[in-house]
């Protein structure tokens, strides 16, 4: 579990993180989105007790990041921006080394290491020097290191950025599995599709401040407004006398289609369908207009920059 309040970090005159409030429960995944230099890595470093907050507080896995730095580090698995692998070691040696750092027993180290290497498809290369690995293999190994001590909290910076689609899928599946075993996970990513699939909560950070935070649906409705639906007819339809129910706005209409914005889809959508059916409209399709996280993110960023410009 992660909780922060007014978490801030100042480097000389530069405010890298400013008043961040987060709450991530066990079994939840929070995605931190933002440009490079927005403050994601600094936030993660404070959550790992690597940087001391200039203001505010954070508790990770029940420990205060300032008072119990050692315990925080022991409870957290971190995939860092730079993978930080020792190139002259083999994958086996590397995982065993970190297993020892995390005080795992020899048998636990062997079992954990074998399982992780097997899962990430690195078992065959386990005896090769890391320097000979491809970028994707290195990233998988770094991820294996972060999971080596089976931590309760995982902080992952771009977990799939260098991976091929197959490996990325493998990693996403593992993250989803970890979530189902009550792990608390924070992901920093620029891969918005991945975030849409994985994250329970999303926080958009800009110049050290959280601009927006919530579930994907909350973000979409907050930023893009009520959802839009398109109705397609197989034959031209006479709409004379047809009135939209309350809370539904007609956006556009052609003889074979309708586009509407629905404030409460769970109430209004069945009503629309019933009314169309009673009017003998030949409904061929009724679908929500695709609204992606990318649209949300870009709109938020554009607005933030615009506001900054005005100020």
């Amino acid at each position: 579990m992660i909780e922060t309040e007014d978490l801030s970090k100042q480097f000389h005159d530069f405010m890298a993180v400013d008043g961040v409030n987060l709450s991530v429960q066990s079994g939840q995944i929070l995605a931190l989105l933002g440009q490079n230099g927005a403050g994601k890595t600094t936030t993660v470093r404070m959550l790992t007790a690597l940087l001391q907050p200039s203001r505010g507080w954070a508790r990770v896995a029940g420990y205060d990041v300032v008072k119990n730095g050692h315990d925080v580090r022991a409870s957290v698995g971190v995939l860092t921006e730079q993978h930080g692998l020792y190139m002259r070691m083999t994958a086996n040696e590397y995982l065993d080394y970190f297993g020892q750092v995390y005080s795992l027993s020899p048998s636990a180290r062997r079992t954990r290491s074998n399982n992780l290497l097997e899962y990430f498809g690195l078992a065959e290369a386990a005896h090769r020097r890391i320097g000979e690995y491809s970028k994707g293999m290195r990233q998988k190994l770094a991820l294996a290191r972060a999971m080596m001590h089976d931590p309760g909290v995982l902080l992952l910076d771009e977990p799939t950025s260098a991976m091929d689609p197959e490996s990325a899928r493998l990693v996403r599946d593992e993250i989803a599995r970890l979530k189902s075993t009550s792990r608390t996970i924070v992901i920093c990513s620029h891969n918005l599709t991945e975030v849409e699939v994985l994250a329970d909560k999303i926080a958009i950070i800009y110049r050290g401040r959280i601009l927006l935070q919530g579930t994907l649906d909350e973000l979409k409705s907050q930023v893009l407004g009520a959802p839009e639906y398109e109705v397609k007819f197989s034959e031209a339809w006479d709409s004379a006398g047809f009135e939209m129910p309350d809370g539904v706005d007609l956006l556009s209409q052609t003889p074979t289609s309708l586009k509407v914005r629905v404030k409460r889809p769970e109430e209004s959508n069945p009503q629309i369908l019933n009314m169309l059916s009673s009017k003998s409209a030949s409904v061929m399709a009724f679908q929500e207009e695709a609204r992606t996280l990318e649209q949300v993110y870009l709109k938020v960023m554009t607005e933030a920059r615009g506001q900054e410009h005005v100020q």
Binding site: L50, Q52, H70, R73, G84, M89, Q100, V101
Partner: protein, 477 residues
Amino acid sequence: MFSKLKLVWLVAGRELRDQFRDWRVLAPMLILTLCFPFLMNEFARQTVDFLNQYNANLILERLVPFSIMIIGFFPITVSLIVALESFVGEKERGTIEPMLSAPLDDWQLYFGKLLVGVATPLIASYVSIGLYLFMASRQNLAMPPAPVMVQLFLLTTAHAFLMVSAAIVISVQSTSVKAANLLASFIVIPVAILMQGEAVMLFWGNEQVLWLAVAGVMIIALLLIRVGLAHFQREYLLGREIDVINLRWMWKTFWLNFRGGANSVGGWYRNVLGSAFRRILPAMFFMVVIAGVSIWMGYDWINQNVAETIAKASPGDLELVKERVGDLPDLAEIRDSISAPFLFLNNTRAVAIIFLAGLVSFSVLGILLYMVNIGLIGGIFALLQLLGIQPWPIFLTGVAPHGIFEIPALMIGSAVVLYIGASLVTPQTGKSMGEVVLELMADWAKIFIGLVVPLLAIAALIEAYITPGLLLNVLSL
């Protein structure tokens, strides 16, 4: 505790293994370790042949110990690269963050790096020395006696600890390997100068002083380790600062601390200097104790070493000395040659030298110089007694009038040095080492300008215009 120490060894073991897998590190170390003893042996052989022509037996006797010292030193300088890049190298390669994110305490990381940093050069040095001794023994060269041999091994070990602990401080504080390597000259050159001094002691044959050198070097090495640990900050190691000298920031930090928000000279003396002086009060107490010890040591040393010489001196020689002590030159002549500005500059320079020596040695050398200065009082007192001259009248008229200003100035000036040394080896949360040094410099400047300089100025005026008259009156009685 054992499990905690195990992690130190784990950090060191990984690094050591990494080194032995890198031929670029291994090859130069091996070449130097194995080839240098041969070169030194050949040099020794040529030197012996040359010196035998002139019967220079003292140099011949000391040739092997001197060679051992040199042979021990060279592999350390080359292996220093390991310690220099221990932290900053990992920072550059991006491997530092997973280590810092692991549940390792600062001291475990630090000592892990220190252990491997010291082990590598020491192994190289011992192998080199062993190889050279083997070759020297086959040439029938005079081998040093066992105590000197022990001293040489301890000296080599002390040099390794000193250089490596300094290199690790540099490695923690540097932002790039390039900068760390450039800063290494600040380690190699002073240690090379130190070794020249040690070589002089070796040829001079004063083995007791060499023990002091071993102890002194070890104390400074331990203080350096303490400094490194005190200023070890994970945050700093993750910083992205580049190596730019920010003179504006440096001046601003210094000036803010020096001025301390005061708007007038009176306010500055009352509040800023007052609080700085209160900070050095514990150090002042130590300086008073050290002064007592130094005076006693000076007194005792003269009694131990000079009494015998005086006892052996002929009555004629003793009479001559007494005459010269009593036969002071003309007062006007003293005033011409030793003016107040001369005395002031001389004493100010002495305090400044104590500060500089203290700054580079975490106060150790500064305090030693202070002890020598104060110890002179006890020494002169003993000397006058041995010559049968009443010391008290001379001291009360020749030292006390200006001494009541000069000695406190020296004590205060040296107490700041002790305070700086103690502050440097104390952890300062949330401050970089640069900030700490600048703040301490500001503290020193406050006390130096606000207290030491005025006291020395008064002392110089008294010493130039009042003391000679009083002293002459006493001597003419």
